[in-house]
């Protein structure tokens, strides 16, 4: 890996955002590469400096003003969905939610069953026998097609 790529990873290294394997690789590289080591030291200094600055408190009334501005903002689709989820959580009791979920599962199962029964056949072996006779009848002179119910004739 080139030094350019190692340098990109230094910031993540300082923030503890790399895996242990990567961490050991970076450390190994820093030991062998002077340029990267220097850059790391600089970054480390900046990091330390930033941490030493005390956090600034917001001016009085900041949160009230922010809340007012947010309420005036048009809701996005994402916000609507979040709102719907929130509403679902609030408007239905736990039992109601279970009932709705069970109904949905049942509906899907019944639909699947109806679809399956519409597309599947009960196969009777006599169907093949009947089809055999049907083919035979095509070569017949007198033949009218055999009844489609050999299994019922027995």
């Amino acid at each position: 890996m080139s030094c350019k790529k190692w340098k990109k990873k230094l910031s993540s290294y300082l923030d503890n955002e790399v895996s242990s394997r990567e961490r050991s690789k970076i450390e190994k590289h820093l030991k062998s590469c002077r340029a990267c080591f220097n850059q790391f030291k600089q970054l480390e200094r900046v990091h330390r400096l930033v941490q030493s600055i005390p956090p600034e408190k917001p001016r009085p009334g900041f949160y009230e003003r922010l809340s007012e501005r947010l309420s005036q903002k048009k809701t996005t689709l994402r916000e609507k969905l979040v709102g719907w989820r929130y509403g679902w959580q609030l408007s239905f009791p736990r039992v109601g939610k279970i009932a709705i979920a069970v109904s949905a599962v049942l509906l899907v199962s019944v639909s699947f069953y109806i679809w399956r029964s519409a597309t599947s056949y009960e196969v009777n072996i006599k169907v093949f026998e009947e089809e055999y006779f049907r083919s035979q009848q095509m070569n017949s002179f007198v033949g009218e097609l055999a009844l489609p119910v050999f299994f019922e004739i027995e």
Binding site: E129, Y132, R134, N139, F141, V142, L145, V149
Partner: protein, 328 residues
């Protein structure tokens, strides 16, 4: 010289000459059995009649007999009602040249099958007749009578052993076959059909027959209710089809039919009279257990590549196995 004596000598020669010329004339005028069969095929699509027909199919250990009333209106309309056995009296069938629709009176049950009067069916029958001419020795037996009508009696003997043979009684006036008997390669009667009553030139209103159906049957044109050629089959089938690479002498492809909404296919091969049916079910189609104890028309069942095959034909077991081994 006695002139009477000379005449007596000439008389037998004259008699023989008359007999010979009569025989030659009748031989020249006699219709060829192949011509009779050809006219008979055309008659099946060009006659109006009403008749009662008895049909018997024989399988090892059992037989099926049905009696039906058939009304035929040329060119492509047939209406059939079942008269016997009693439990099937409610069954009726209507063929309008597009589909053959079976219906149980008083129910909403319909079953759709390929029409036997369609142009495709007629073409299959025509090809089948040509195969009969190639694979069978066709001869005319002594004329006879059926339902007090003079009939030609035609015999079809296979050129290759191990195939079925047939005897047909054809009406001399209309060329409609009035009786037919099929024998298997062992000489056992396997099916017979004959009219017990027949009336020609009866016309009916087709609408009258539709009244027997609770509503006019409507059907989307599904390919599985049509006879398919190999080309059509390859276009319509949803899974790769296997074909037999070996067929007994004289057998050719007859038709393909899709079954169970395209999840199975029937391939039929014929020599003009005998048929070989190869059914194949798509992978995960049906469990093999449904074929357990199936002792129908000499079947052979096996599984290969996840799919189930069923081979049916009234030919020797040895030939069946040879066909089975060639399927790929």
């Amino acid at each position: 010289m006695n002139p009477g004596k000379g005449f007596q000598k000439v008389l037998p020669c004259l008699f023989i000459l008359i007999i010979l010329s009569g025989g030659m004339t009748s031989a020249l005028l006699a219709i060829e059995p192949k011509e009779i069969l050809t006219r008979s095929l055309e008659a099946q699509f060009g006659l109006d009649f009403e008749g009662i027909k008895k049909t018997e199919f024989r399988l090892p250990g059992r037989s099926y007999t049905t009696t039906t009333r058939i009304i035929r209106q040329e060119p492509d309309f047939t209406y059939t009602t079942t008269l016997a056995p009693a439990r099937l009296k409610r069954w009726i069938a209507l063929d309008d040249g597009e589909f053959r629709i079976w219906h149980i009176r008083g129910s909403n049950k319909f079953e759709f099958f390929p029409s036997e009067n369609s142009p495709e069916a007629k073409e299959i029958k025509r090809k089948s007749l040509n195969l009969k001419f190639i694979n069978y020795k066709i001869s005319r037996l002594l004329d006879s009578y059926i339902l007090a009508r003079p009939v030609y009696v035609i015999s079809l003997i296979p050129r290759n052993s191990g195939n079925p043979r047939r005897k047909i009684w054809i009406d001399k006036k209309t060329y409609l076959p009035l009786k037919e008997e099929d024998y298997n390669w062992r000489g056992e009667l396997i099916s017979s059909s004959f009219y017990t009553e027949i009336h020609f030139d009866r016309r009916f209103s087709k609408e009258k027959f539709y009244r027997d159906f609770p509503q006019r049957p409507r059907k989307k044109v599904f390919s599985q209710e049509r006879f398919l050629s190999l080309k059509d089959l390859r276009r319509k089938i949803r899974f790769p089809v296997f074909f037999p690479q070996y067929l007994p002498a004289g057998y050719e492809f007859q038709e393909a039919v899709l079954l169970f909404k395209g999840r199975a296919v029937k391939l039929t091969y014929t020599n003009g009279l005998g048929v070989i049916c190869l059914f194949q079910m798509a992978p995960r189609g049906y469990p093999e257990t449904i074929f357990k104890d199936f002792e129908g028309a000499h079947p052979l069942v096996w599984k290969k590549g996840g799919r189930t095959f069923l081979l049916m034909a009234d030919i020797s077991r040895k030939e069946l196995i040879k066909i089975k081994q060639s399927v790929k």
